[in-house]
């Protein structure tokens, strides 16, 4: 063999038949460690509660060697919630990663194109004006979020969509909707305002197996699409001209990625309300751990899953009273923003 390229980072090169891939070492190890951490966290979450179990009981319940109360507690009560935290967290992590890659901005997530505020507006309208059922609430939230995202996209569209214009239009529209939301809550009576706030905090309470399965199936399809678009996405981080000259159809790929990113967050919002900040924080933590060039999806998904699971555990068992998971993730996001502010200020004196 001739000389090898020195990438400055060790990698595993696999060449066999039609397969020739180069897997950088560090992201692989980071992913493996994250997977182990997630498994440990999941077992802990399945053990903990008013009916305390041992790791052994949890494992034998999972492998179907328990019957009776232990099986019911683990598989029917606690597992749906843990599965939801994992799947939804991964979805949020990937959703944020897609937006941060497309917009080349560590503050990007579907919220920047108005999705979060829009879905809250939709939910508020259902709660306050229609007094609808849970299904209607989910429908209203999705409709509101999607409509806002589409509106922002169209408003920012001028012969192709540019990242910066998208962010500026998104911030403007979000601010308008936020004041609308505040006005709606002020107009509401106390009960309605309470249930609106409960939904708006984002919670895994009452997430049942059927919601996990339906949401999980949607998310699995979306993650698959994101995986296929991963390479073009990374190439587009070089700028539109470079990507196009490498044979990428920039406009349709970008639109497709935006749709997948919004749909991932939308699915989570539908099942659990908006769980804030995981999509913002997970890709950045993942990037720092894996030291990859630009954004990569797999570590972001795993960090998202771990964050969501850990946040929910804190919210349920460590907080003095059980809280919605969204309350913990907001604290997490605040910490991240403070960190960004701190490092950016230090970098540009």
């Amino acid at each position: 063999m001739s000389a090898h390229v020195d990438f400055g980072r060790r990698a595993l090169v696999l060449r066999r038949g039609r397969i020739a891939v180069r897997l950088p070492f560090r992201p692989l190890v980071v992913c493996a460690v994250l997977a182990v951490a997630i498994a440990g966290m999941a077992v802990l979450a399945l053990m903990t509660g008013s009916y305390q179990l041992t790791p052994g009981q949890v494992l034998s319940a999972l492998t179907g060697r328990e019957t009776g109360i232990v099986h019911d507690v683990v598989v029917d009560w606690r597992l749906p919630r843990v599965a939801a935290a994992l799947v939804f967290g991964a979805a949020l992590g990937v959703s944020g990663a897609i937006f941060q890659s497309l917009l080349r901005n560590p503050l990007a997530e579907p919220g920047v194109i108005g999705f979060s505020q829009g879905s809250y507006t939709g939910a508020l309208i259902v709660i306050l004006l229609v007094d609808g059922t849970y299904t209607q609430l989910v429908g209203g939230a999705l409709l509101g979020g999607m409509a806002t995202a589409v509106a922002v996209y169209v408003l920012a569209h001028r012969r192709g969509v540019q990242g910066f214009r998208l962010i500026v239009v998104g911030i403007g529209v979000s601010a308008m909707l936020e004041s609308l939301n505040t006005w709606l809550i002020i107009k509401a009576d106390l009960d309605e305002a309470m249930s609106a706030a409960a939904w708006g905090a984002g919670s895994l309470n009452g997430v049942s197996w059927d919601r996990v399965v339906i949401g999980g199936a949607c998310i699995a399809v979306l993650l698959l699409l994101a995986g296929v678009a991963n390479r073009p996405m990374r190439q587009m981080e070089l700028g539109d001209d470079a990507a196009a000259s490498h044979g990428i159809r920039v406009a349709p790929v970008r639109l497709g990625l935006i749709l997948v990113g919004v749909a991932l967050t939308a699915t989570v919002t539908a099942a659990s309300g908006p769980i804030a900040f995981i999509s913002l924080v997970a890709p950045q933590i993942a990037r720092r751990l894996a030291r990859t060039a630009g954004i990569t999806l797999a570590p972001a998904a795993l960090v998202g899953a771990l964050l969501c699971l850990a946040s929910d555990h804190l919210a349920q068992h460590v907080a003095p009273t059980p809280l919605p998971v969204g309350v913990i993730t907001v604290v997490l996001g605040g910490g991240y923003l403070a960190y960004l502010l701190f490092t950016e200020v230090r970098r540009r004196p």
Binding site: S2, F7, V21, G247
Partner: protein
């Protein structure tokens, strides 16, 4: 030489190229001679980059067409175009935390697939491109931490790694010191001698005249003159295209036309007019 005069692999046929509402070039016809080192010159904002974008299919002509290997360039699959025509854009973005070799390897994208991401060919092309641009020693460094000139050579390496028969280079020598500029010019000369077709936008008329085999001078979106350097680079043309009064004298080494600006009286020596 080809049998028919209009058999150049890449040409523009009375095309109208521009952005959204702004038309930059109308009824533009340009031919890139095969295996030439073609240099495009012209003042800022005259449409040089726009022409390259049209040639690389980044812009679709609103009238007329760009022809690649005998067919409308828009009739090809995008990746197929990218295997035949490469473009070094005037400005690109390096993702945070990318290393030199990783960035150069990104140029291999059009040759790769979902399962074929890093073959022997890829490895060879990347090694060669890094050697040709003297960035092998920087291989494992972070692109964020390079000087402007080092970074520019890395971008050129990425374009070379794409290994296309036709390479379009938008101001490849920006940020480079004189030695690296000359090295790059000589590399381009070597490449066109082994059969690549190169098209570069350059601002240095002396380099254009000395190394280019075919010159295209543009002004306000139109081609003002094209042909061999000693026919194109004349004092009249430089004044017409750039509005600069100058003297054109033979380069003492290569004999190619050399542009010496007359400038304002103050900077002139008594004997200058006799060269």
């Amino acid at each position: 030489m080809s049998a028919t005069p209009s058999a150049a692999r890449l040409r523009v046929e009375s095309a109208t190229i521009g952005y959204d509402k702004r038309t930059i070039s109308e009824h533009l016809s340009v031919e890139i001679p095969d295996e030439s080192f073609t240099v495009i010159v012209g003042p800022n904002a005259c449409g040089k980059s726009t022409l390259l974008r049209g040639l690389a299919r980044l812009l679709k002509p609103s009238a007329g067409q760009v022809v690649l290997d005998g067919a409308d360039i828009n009739s090809y699959k995008t990746k197929e175009v990218a295997r035949r025509v490469g473009l070094l854009p005037q400005s690109s973005i390096a993702p945070d935390g990318i290393t030199v070799a990783d960035l150069v390897a990104r140029g291999r994208y059009p040759h790769q697939g979902f399962l074929r991401q890093w073959t022997d060919d890829d490895e060879r092309a990347v090694l060669r491109a890094m050697r040709q641009t003297s960035v092998t020693d920087l291989s494992g460094r972070l692109v964020d931490e390079l000087s402007g000139g080092q970074r520019q050579r890395v971008w050129v390496a990425m374009a070379l790694a794409q290994h296309t028969g036709i390479m379009l280079l938008d101001e490849p020598t920006t940020f480079l010191d004189i030695t690296h500029q000359i090295e790059l010019m000589e590399l381009f000369t070597d490449l066109h001698q082994v059969g690549h077709t190169l098209v570069a936008v350059l601002h240095d008329l002396n380099h254009a005249a000395r190394y280019g085999t075919h010159l295209i001078a543009m002004k306000d979106g139109a081609v003002v003159a094209e042909g061999a350097p000693d026919q194109v680079v004349t004092a009249e043309l430089v004044e017409e295209v750039f509005g600069l009064r100058c003297l054109v004298v033979p380069d003492p080494v290569a004999g190619s036309p050399q542009v010496v600006p007359l400038g304002r009286d103050r900077t002139r020596r008594e004997s200058t007019t006799h060269a």
